[in-house]
């Protein structure tokens, strides 16, 4: 059998066409490559793109109805703005500190202090009560509210209520220090930047126009109706 000499390149030149692009949604076509590349992209987007999330919580006072680790877990799941993640270090690779939050290269400190004063109203502690030491890293809804306030249009403070962490009754208190770190979705899903990433083959539909001309208008209409993705 005739084979080409070893050492020749089999590189492909994939083509991309964006169909939709929004702040939190993208849809694009990928051509001239195969499903393994699309699947690798999908897997990397889900599990290997670094983001920032709360990873260490030191609780000073917690007299709420939820226990400490329950609150720590909830704090971890709050999405934080992660544009700075690529410039941050993983705390395990950071030689400037031992990952206790004293280092600006690998961690961002958050503080939360809330106490329900003596009224009958329950106090809702939300992600808006988190105070970040670094303005680049904050809960995403805080960042969005800030952007809306800057642009000046349709800013409704009641609409941006934040993510509920715990409700406090009269006299109850929550005070804590949290360290956000860089991480990847492979370690914990809280670091996954994507909600869902999927790909599919798209059929290339060729219509037999000759045969189509033989159909009546109603038949054509029902042919269109039969499309599952119309």
């Amino acid at each position: 059998m005739d084979r080409p000499a070893a050492g020749s390149s089999y590189q492909r030149f994939p083509r991309v066409r964006i169909r939709e692009l929004k702040d939190d949604y993208a849809k694009f076509e990928l051509r001239d490559t195969d499903a393994s590349i699309a699947n690798a992209l999908r897997r990397v987007m889900i599990a290997e793109v670094p983001t920032v999330a709360i990873d260490l919580v030191e609780i000073e006072v917690n007299s709420s109805v939820l226990n400490d680790e329950f609150i720590a877990h909830r704090l971890g799941l709050i999405p934080l703005t992660s544009a700075a993640a690529m410039q941050m270090r993983f705390s395990r690779d950071c030689d400037a500190c031992d990952g206790d939050g004293s280092c600006e290269y690998c961690s961002v400190e958050f503080n939360l202090s809330a106490r329900a004063t003596d009224s009958d109203q329950t106090l809702e502690v939300t992600s808006n009560d988190l105070r970040s030491a670094d303005p680049k890293v904050c809960p995403v809804d805080q960042a969005r509210a800030y952007q809306l306030a800057l642009s000046g249009n349709d800013y409704d403070p009641n609409a941006e209520r934040g993510i509920l962490i715990v409700k406090l009754r009269r006299g109850q208190e929550l005070r804590l220090r949290a360290i956000a770190r860089k991480g990847i979705g492979k370690d914990h899903a809280k670091w996954s930047p994507a909600a869902t990433v999927t790909f599919m083959y798209e059929p290339d539909i060729l219509i037999n126009e000759e045969l189509m001309d033989t159909l009546t208008f109603d038949e054509k209409r029902s042919w269109v109706e039969s499309s599952p993705t119309k």
């Binding site: 084979r3 080409p4 070893a6 050492g7 083509r15 066409r17 195969d34 290997e48 395990r92 690779d93």
Partner: protein
């Protein structure tokens, strides 16, 4: 705690001198201790890929890639399939708790597993670099079009 970490560090440096070492026994011995895995992983990046020739078949070999999974395994396998000198290419994830893959390659006598593997990885590298640029160009084009109100 600290001296256990040091011990593991020394052990893993020692293991790195001899390729194809298996950390699983070490890990199972010590995984109860916090931070040990992290130490192992950061030291281990000295050898990401190791190579072992098949003793029975000529032009056949296995490559062990540490700290990679299906993401890399499948694209490398598919890229190797594009090379007509590659007679067989496959990968396996030996165990879900062992964070490594094994890529097995069998080539014709015109090529060699090392050559095929290097070529495949270089081609993939160039393809993904090209894809990255193509995506950025397309993103700018899309945003330009959106600005013009299409």
């Amino acid at each position: 705690m600290l001296d256990v970490c040091l011990l593991v560090l020394l052990l893993s440096v020692f293991c790195n001198d001899r390729f194809n070492c298996d950390y699983s026994c070490l890990l199972s011995l010590l995984n109860c201790l916090d931070g040990v895995v992290v130490v192992l992983m950061s030291v281990n990046h000295l050898c990401r890929v190791s190579y072992e020739r098949d003793t029975k078949i000529v032009n056949a070999a296995s490559f062990t890639i540490e700290r990679e999974d299906h993401t890399i395994g499948n694209i490398v396998r598919m890229q190797l399939h594009r090379d007509p000198n590659v007679l067989f290419a496959g990968y396996k994830l030996p165990h879900p708790l062992q964070y490594k893959i094994i890529v097995r390659i069998h080539t014709t006598s015109q090529s060699s597993p090392t050559q095929a593997y290097t070529q495949a990885v270089n081609d993939l590298d160039k393809e993904l670099e090209y894809l990255k640029q193509a995506f950025e160009v397309e993103k700018n084009r899309y945003e330009e079009r959106a600005k013009q109100g299409f």
